[in-house]
Amino acid sequence: MQYNVKIEAFEGPLDLLLHLINRLEIDIYDIPVAEITEQYLLYIHTMKELELNVASEFLVMAATLLAIKSKMLLPKHEEDLSEEYGFEEEEDPREELVERLIEYRKYKEAANEFKDLEHERSLIYTKPPSDLSEYAKEAQSDNADLNVSLYDMLGAFQKLMRRKKLQKPLSAKVARQEIPIEKRMGEIIELLKRTNSRKSLNELFPIRERNHMVVTFLALLELMKRQEVLVEQEGNFAEIYVTAQEGGAVDATD
């Protein structure tokens, strides 16, 4: 499998050719076709020996190279002939291939620059938009002004996915160090008493990390069992609220 990965380091026949040109220190404008064809075929041969799936493009290129090679071998008199007819420059059978290689090389290098940019960008972190519902009036209902596309939606989603990775703060480390339920119970009681108000269930799960959420949930169950907190819901589907019970025994300072 490892071999497979390495051979696939070549994006295609042009990539492989560029690599050979580089390695053999060949002038791209004056490629020794016989030599490079031989090297190229050696790679293809080896890939086949390894029973790797050689993409058809590689075979097409092999045929192209062989065709160029045979054109290059055409008898010399033809060149004389063309000179007689006044052609300044005989068309080089390699020309088209060289142009393709040079064109491809530009983008291959640009891809490397993109890779650097990608890395630079990965060093900075942004934050999700804040929830501004407390500032909101009624929402707008006309879509004529909307002016967004599916791609804007997907783009927003990509941002979210990239960001998500940061929203599991230290989950590995935290997972190894157990959060004591007792401690979390203390924190919850402390919060409820300090603010002296009821809290929605949502507010009691400030850390969106599985372990912490599970511990918080268990802590709440335990507090309910011990009648330290009162849990209420006004209607069937309404928000659930938690209030501290008077005279609870859990020490808030712990």
Partner: protein
């Protein structure tokens, strides 16, 4: 002379942690200092924010978690921000929410909030008001929460014949997370996608 700019680093990590915030323990771990030292840095930064009127943030502590928030006196500008939707685009928050609903419907608000990591009431209101989403039923179980899905208008607006025409999501996006608890969500996506 202080060689490490603790306050700057603390500001960075609190900023990136967003509404989730960080506990003193997490802060101490990331900064690789004792909790006592972390506490000191927190208080230093808190004081900076308070003293300097050119700063728009404050450092608050809620339920044992520290997080950055905007200063109360700037509320009027935030209100204006909400009322001035970005050149009449949907907000980033609304677009995210819409994407999650589009690909994972039917889905409850709580599930959406789990994915986004922030409260999502306002984006849901906006999307419902614009008829891009609607309540499509009720979830089973305790809360019988509303389930949201996309509407015909959603398809019309984005020029889709059906939901199956939604662009596929990337398969490789989460390769690195393999075996990690977090991405049940993504597995679900791939099932849908598959």
């Amino acid at each position: 002379m202080q060689l490490i700019n603790w306050k700057g680093i603390l500001e960075s990590i609190l900023f990136a942690a967003g509404d989730g915030g960080l506990s003193i323990k997490q802060i101490a771990e990331v900064l690789e200092v004792e909790e006592l030292k972390a506490q000191e840095i927190i208080e230093d930064l808190q004081e900076d924010y308070e003293k300097d009127e050119n700063r728009g943030l404050m450092l608050v502590s809620m339920a044992g978690v520290y997080q950055l928030a905007t200063k109360k006196e700037h509320a009027v500008y935030l209100k204006r921000l909400v009322e001035t939707p970005g050149g009449s685009h949907l907000s980033q928050a609304a677009l995210e929410t819409l994407a999650i609903i589009a690909y994972r419907q039917p889905i409850t608000r709580v599930e959406i909030e789990e994915i986004r990591g922030v409260k999502t009431e306002r984006p849901l209101q906006t999307l419902a008001a614009r008829a891009l989403i609607k309540e499509v039923g009720r979830a089973e179980g305790a809360g019988r929460a509303y389930l949201y899905g996309t509407t015909r208008e959603f398809l019309d607006y984005f020029g889709l014949k059906s939901l199956s025409e939604l662009p596929p999501l990337p398969e490789t996006l989460n390769d690195e997370d393999s075996g990690e608890e977090a991405d049940l969500f993504f597995e679900k996506f791939q099932e849908l996608d598959g």
